[in-house]
C-alpha cells in the first residue's frame, strides 16, 4: 500500500464521521485507515474542520430560522413587515448600505425564498407572490394591498406612526391587539437585529396604547 495514496473517498469518510455507514463498510474503512496514513491524515483534517465549523456556526442560527419559518404567525409577520418598512425607509437613504437578500429573507421568515421570487407565504393569502410585491406592500399601506384580513388592517393602523385611532374599533379591542402583539414579540426573539431600533419604537407606541374611543 502506497503511504501517500488515498484509498477512501471523502464521501465515505464523511459517512464514517457521521456514523452513516453499514457495519461491513465501516469495518473495511477501519481496516484501511489502520494501513493508510494519507487517509488517516484526511480523516483528522475533516474532523478538525467539522469541529471548527460547528464552533463558527452553532445550531442556534439555524434553529432561529426554523422557529421563524414554522411558527411565526401572521400577526408577527405583519409586525415584521412594518418594522422592515421602517428599516428599509432608513436604509434607502443614498448613503445607506445595501440591504442583503439574507436580511430580507430573515425578515419575511420564509424558508422558500428563491432569488428574484421571494415569497411571504405567512402573510400573502393569495399564494405565491414575488418579494418585489412584498417590498411594494411595505412602501404603501397594507390596506391598499387587497385583500388583507380586517385584523391586519387594524394592526397596520395600530403600528403606523401617522395613523389616527380607528374610529370603529373600541379602545379595548386595540389594547387587546397591542397586548397580543407584545406577547408575540416576547415569544419570538428571532427578529433580525437590524429591526431592533424600529422594534423599540413600535413597542413604545404599543405601551402608550392607542387613544381610540
Amino acid at each position: 500500500m502506497n503511504p501517500s495514496s488515498r484509498y477512501i473517498s471523502d464521501l465515505i469518510l464523511e459517512r464514517y464521521i457521521a456514523d452513516a455507514l453499514d457495519a461491513t463498510t465501516r469495518s473495511r474503512v477501519d481496516a484501511l485507515l489502520a494501513r493508510s496514513p494519507a487517509d488517516s491524515e484526511r480523516l483528522k483534517k475533516l474532523l478538525a474542520d467539522s469541529k471548527e465549523f460547528l464552533q463558527r456556526h452553532p445550531p442556534e442560527e439555524l434553529l432561529g430560522r426554523f422557529r421563524a419559518g414554522t411558527v411565526r404567525p401572521m400577526e408577527l409577520n405583519a409586525l415584521v413587515a412594518r418594522l422592515t418598512r421602517m428599516t428599509l425607509e432608513e436604509a434607502h437613504r443614498p448613503e445607506a448600505p445595501y440591504i442583503s437578500l439574507a436580511f430580507v429573507k430573515q425578515c419575511v421568515g420564509s424558508q422558500q425564498v428563491p432569488r428574484h421570487a421571494l415569497q411571504n407565504p405567512g402573510f400573502n393569502t393569495q399564494g405565491d407572490s414575488p418579494i418585489a410585491r412584498f417590498i411594494v406592500t411595505l412602501e404603501g399601506l397594507l390596506s391598499t394591498v387587497a385583500p388583507v384580513p380586517q385584523r391586519m388592517f387594524l394592526l397596520e393602523r395600530l403600528l403606523h406612526p401617522e395613523t389616527q385611532p380607528h374610529p370603529e374599533v373600541s379602545k379595548r379591542a386595540m389594547e387587546e391587539l397591542a397586548a397580543e402583539l407584545l406577547d408575540l414579540v416576547e415569544k419570538h426573539p428571532d427578529l433580525p437585529a437590524e429591526l431592533k431600533p424600529s422594534l423599540a419604537q413600535v413597542i413604545e407606541k404599543l405601551k402608550q396604547r392607542p387613544g381610540a374611543k
Binding site: 473517498s9 452513516a20 460547528l54 456556526h57 445550531p59 439555524l62 434553529l63 426554523f66 419559518g69 426573539p189
Partner: protein
C-alpha cells in the same frame, strides 16, 4: 424559549451532519456565505419533508441529495453556458470499480466548476433524483453502482434514467449553444 421536539431533532442532525453537508455545498458553490445559506436551507427543507422520507433512506443520503439539488439550483441562476461539460456519455466501468471505496472526489478545479455550471443549465426542470444522479455521475465521477447505492435505486434504473436525461440534455445543449452564438 424551551426547545420543541422538532428543534431538538434539528439541532442533533445539524451537529451530526452539518459539517459534511456544508463541505458539499462549499465544494459545489465555492462561496462560503452561499454554502452556509444553502446548508441551512437544506436542513430546513429536510425538516419540512422528513415524514415523507422516513424509513426510505438515511438522513445523510437525503440531506446530501437536497444540498446537491439546492446548490445546483443556486448555480443555475448565475450560470453561463461554457461548453465545458463535453459529450455526456455514461461510463460503464462499474465492474472494475465495484466495491472500491475510493471513487474520485470533487476537486473544484475551474474546468469542473464550468462543467457543473453547464450541467446546472442542462438539468433545469429535471427531478431532484435525476439531477442528483447526473451530478454524481458526470461531475463527481461516481460509477453507476455508486450512484445507485447512494440513491437507493437499482443500477439498471439509474442507467436508464441517465440515458433518458442525456437525450433531453443533448437537445437542450444544442439549443443553448445555438442561442449563445453571436
Amino acid at each position: 424559549m424551551s426547545e420543541s421536539t422538532a428543534e431538538r431533532e434539528l439541532g442533533a442532525i445539524y451537529r451530526r451532519y452539518g459539517p459534511a453537508i456544508h463541505r458539499r455545498a462549499l465544494a459545489l458553490l465555492g462561496n462560503e456565505q452561499e454554502a452556509l445559506d444553502v446548508t441551512q436551507d437544506s436542513f430546513l427543507a429536510y425538516m419540512e419533508a422528513r415524514s415523507s422520507w422516513r424509513g426510505e433512506a438515511s438522513p445523510f443520503t437525503i440531506l446530501y441529495q437536497i444540498v446537491t439539488y439546492r446548490a445546483v439550483d443556486r448555480l443555475r441562476r448565475r450560470a453561463r453556458w461554457a461548453g465545458a461539460l463535453g459529450t455526456l456519455e455514461l461510463r460503464d466501468e462499474d465492474d472494475a470499480a465495484h466495491g472500491d471505496l475510493a471513487q474520485p472526489s470533487m476537486e473544484g478545479g475551474l474546468a469542473q466548476v464550468e462543467a457543473l455550471c453547464d450541467l446546472a443549465i442542462l438539468t433545469q426542470g429535471e427531478s431532484p433524483e435525476v439531477l442528483s444522479a447526473a451530478v454524481y455521475h458526470f461531475v463527481d465521477g461516481w460509477t453507476l453502482v455508486e450512484v445507485a447505492r447512494e440513491l437507493g435505486l437499482d443500477r439498471k434504473k439509474v442507467s436508464k434514467m441517465l440515458q433518458q436525461f442525456i437525450r433531453r440534455a443533448r437537445q437542450r445543449g444544442s439549443e443553448t449553444e445555438a442561442r449563445a452564438k453571436p
